[in-house]
Symmetry: C2
Subunit: 139 residues, 2 copies
């Protein structure tokens, strides 16, 4: 099955990370303890885990930043992109790219979370997103 159950982000300060995700995005944790916070997403979990724990669990000698990846969060309208980017910069995010219209359509910008993980905030009219936030390629 084509399935991703969890995205785990290494974080250095759980409170700082929570401020970005809880106060910035407005998301609620579904579980948290003193080393990890889980958020219930659209059919998968987002985990923010103390980086040393993730490193030990995955048997990595080191973890570097910024990593060669990005996450994307879609908003329902073009007009919703800039205000969310602006809001997230007020809760620990760092703007990477002001929103613009890319060649392939839509409207999007990028910012880094407090642990330097990239998020694209996008309006993408070419993809169907259902009421539960689940994305399907095409319309």
């Amino acid at each position: 099955m084509q399935q991703i159950s969890v995205i785990t982000l290494g974080v250095r300060d759980l409170a700082r990370s929570k401020r970005f995700y809880v106060e910035g995005f407005g998301w609620k944790p579904v579980f948290e303890n003193n080393e990890i916070v889980f958020y219930q997403m659209n059919g998968l979990m987002l985990g923010t885990w103390l980086e040393d724990k993730l490193k030990a669990d995955a048997r990595r000698a080191e973890l570097k930043r910024p990593g060669a990846f990005s996450l994307a969060h879609n908003v329902p309208t073009r007009e919703g992109v800039a205000p969310l980017l602006e809001r997230l910069t007020q809760f620990g995010g760092t703007l990477l790219k002001a929103p613009e219209a890319p060649p392939h359509g839509g409207f999007s910008g990028y910012l880094a979370d407090p642990d330097d993980h990239a998020w694209e905030i996008a309006w993408n009219p070419a993809w169907k997103i259902d009421a539960e936030g689940r994305v399907h390629f095409g319309l």
Copy 2:
């Protein structure tokens, strides 16, 4: 909405990456061109994009490996973990951690994809996964 629409992984060789995801995992692309391959996942997209393109799009000066993150793929049974890890190492993956039973339950191991992105292959009886592969915290 608590929503992740895309996980984009930076890759250096699309054919090498496709071998791992298509032949190893057995996943089918829903879209591909000469710089990106998209896979339709459980309510979100997995994109594998030439790293220089991702770097330019996100306005990053550099991208490093391995990044401080991990993805997880769940399998339905404990017995399914080891064979999938073994299979993926035959298609360009590198084992990071042989499967074991972690303190919080279940059974899992880690490997790196050909671009050094970490995947945990896990059996987790504590989380409900529906027929479409969507994960819900708790049972």
